[in-house]
Amino acid sequence: MTVTEDRPSYKWVGTRPIRHDGYDKVVGKARFAADLNLPGQLHAAILRSPHGHARILSIDTSTAEAMPGVKAVVTAADFPALDVGNPEHDVAMNLMARDVVLYVGHALAAVAASTRAEAQAAAAAIEVEYELLPVVLSLDESMADGAPLVNDDNRTAFSGSDEPSNLATVTPLERGDVDGAFEAADLIVEREFDTAWVHQGYIEPHACVVDVGADGKADIWASSQGHFRVRSQTAAVLGWDTARVKVTPAEIGGGFGGKTTIYLEPVAARLSEKSGRPVKITMSRDEVLRATGPAPASKARIRIAATNDGELTAIDGWIGYAVGCTNDMAGFIGAMSVASYRFPNLKLEAVAALTNTPKSAAYRAPSAPQAAFAIESVIDEIAQLLEMDPIDLRLKNAVVEGDPTAMGSPHPRIGFVECLEAIRDSDHYRSPVPEGTARGVGSGFWFNIGEQSSATVNLNEDGTATVITGSPDIGGSRASMALMAAEELGIDVYRITPVVADTESVGFTDVTEGSRATFATGMAVVNACRELIDQLKTRAATILGVEADAVDWVDGAAVAEDKDPLPLADITAKAKSTGGPLTVTASLNAGGAGPSFAVHCCDVAVDEETGQVTVLRYTTAQDAGTAIHPSYVEGQMQGGTAQGIGWALNEEYVYDDDGTMLNASFLDYRVPVASDLPMIETIIVEVPNPAHPYGVRGVGETGIVPPMATIANAVSRATGARLTSLPMSPPKVLAVLDDR
């Protein structure tokens, strides 16, 4: 179901064609990084630290080097030491520990051999002497007075201090008179919250194949959300010029933010350079969980003041993120998440602190879910205490265009109110709550980003078109590019071939993150098409013998008074005689990515004997601006929701005292399966983003923000007990029920 503001009618935008890359993916032909094999290829294995924090006293690779099949061994000594201030310092340190290991799973050597088994055996034979250092595993330990340093190289960002510190960022926000507002309040609710480490859980482990030729150039095939970043990070870590590195994007088997950085490519490159052979590295699931990007664990204390008629007058809070072994912007971004409600008085401090756990990575709307869980739970409790409908309470306080964001600048045109109304008016919300269940609502948003994109559009002789971009397609964006090009050019979407090209075949394009691909790369495609149409009109004028400004472009054809319409294919057929090939490249640094809001509603049942929470019905309403391909917009909404349900109910890293993850498998780190979930009903709200030619807002991330509070709010209404700790696993639910 779609709720739409008035907008122009489109022929292609908003339709649901079969995606162009779909056939290869249903017949098993699509090539993911691990599917590629090169002649003479070696397999690499990585030796990882068994300790949570230790000094490396010595590494002896001599036994390993003499083992059968072994062709090359590398350690940090094979990479240049980057200065602490180098932007890729932390990436380099993470993919090969130099003097210290900072978490269990930290890589410190790698072996390339003829087979994976030989490489693994040799890696295990590398001898390392360690001096154990104190391990810091939680936010509280990290921030305690006199806490041991997690990482000597860390400095608190924006602090100006050059002292090593466990603090990554400290972000204070303040406006209005918070103390006065709390004094005047009719009602104050204060709660503390915590959430566990969770993993993005993409089904495809990280993988790459790298071939460094005799000319010293590296050919890389990688699974990533941004092959231009793979190129720049790999070059930086190796100390190479960017031009020595070519990266071809393989199909990517899920990323959700976790594949916006690199873990393997420079290691494979150095092994390939040393051995003179192509090198393939594929991570195991165990390595993925132990050594790649979980999202930060968090703690929060939130206090909100309200009047008896439901006006939220002030918020006062603290939120902290445990970000792993290197600096991270989690706290800074998390602080921005208070911007859903007007709050005339606001005081918030967001902090991120280091722990001896894996370097955290972005996970879909990074930092927002933790903050929204806390804030949306307190707001719900206020609605309960005031006996107000939770949607009415939110409607009364929701931000609209012009209201301040967390930083104080005004919100652009946004669709929060429209999403609240969509849920309020939905079949789900209006239906009676079934016996034995309870209903909760929650909301959230994500800012979205624009950044740099390039696109080349080639018109072929027969009037078909090739649309070439540099944005890896992580969930249907190729189809969106083709749809926008079809709309512009006025040709059938299946006459367009969307291509994601390597770093040498298309202009620079930033990572697919921040829900930016359809927004920013789409804008580059639209700009290229518009310039092509200008050229087509000029060519048509020549063919028709009229002035160029007498020609219009209508529905895929040039039209001029008293002339028959000249279809695109008739113009491309005459390209040679009218000026040569028709091709345009457009590039931009896009601004104006509009925030996307969502409101969720769910019905849950709580088994009071086992503590099991079951989600029985779920509806999400989200502002997509304009849905280019509604099926994939729904898919993003449903996928984000399912991940949020996992975060709410099951998923958590379990560490022992030394920092060893105890549940590093999909058996024990349990993501939702089909039988855990109901259908996820979707309402696409379309409040067009004025900064995009079709009104697009990124939709990829928002879906994961509301579910935790939505479910906690439903559980509270089911049981009378408020769950403030994620995941709401059966033992925790039982404990809270017992305390009632």
Binding site: K25, E204, R285, G475, F666, S675
Partner: protein, 163 residues
């Protein structure tokens, strides 16, 4: 036995008789991918927990990462590459495309194989039966909604075709 000793395995894969050499500790998944070049089945975990490597062995769904290649001797194996009939996609493949049941697509081969096994056995499954039959296959992108609906739609089409 030395690591290099290899067993000669003969079996049927997607209707063709094939043979290959595999050491005793090679998984069927690695043999399919590396020896036979059939990279449709994926490795998401290697421990039987994700279903990305699902193939049919004598008509039953198996995690090929958990089977040793020599155990395939004499069996009839179907992988995602063998589900279509020539150019004609299997109704599941078609409904997955039309229903947008794949986002990244890494889980898709496993889901198609498991769903085919389900519909071969039970042409008219309930939503709950579909969800339980697919509970061994993880998808992190879709939230399963569109996968389940696509299986329901394929079941309707298949029943129509055999009526």
């Amino acid at each position: 036995m030395s690591k290099r000793s290899r067993t000669h395995v003969t079996c049927t894969v997607n209707g063709d008789e094939v043979d290959f050499l595999a050491s005793d500790d090679t998984s069927l998944l690695d043999a399919l991918r590396d020896e036979l070049g059939l990279t449709g089945a994926k490795e998401g975990c290697g421990t039987g927990d994700c279903g990305a490597c699902s193939v049919l062995v004598d008509g039953r769904v198996n995690c090929s990462c958990l089977m040793f290649a020599p155990e395939a001797e004499g069996t009839d194996i179907v992988t995602v590459e063998g589900i279509a009939e020539g150019d004609q996609l299997h109704p599941l493949q078609q409904t997955f495309l039309e229903g947008a049941a794949l986002q990244c697509g890494i889980c898709t081969p496993g889901f198609l194989v498991s769903a085919k096994a389900l519909l071969d056995e039970n042409p008219d499954p309930t939503e709950t039966e579909i969800r339980y039959a697919l509970a061994g296959n993880l998808c992190r992108c879709t939230g399963y909604d569109k996968i389940v609906r696509s299986v329901q739609e394929a079941a309707v089409q298949l029943r129509g075709a055999t009526r």
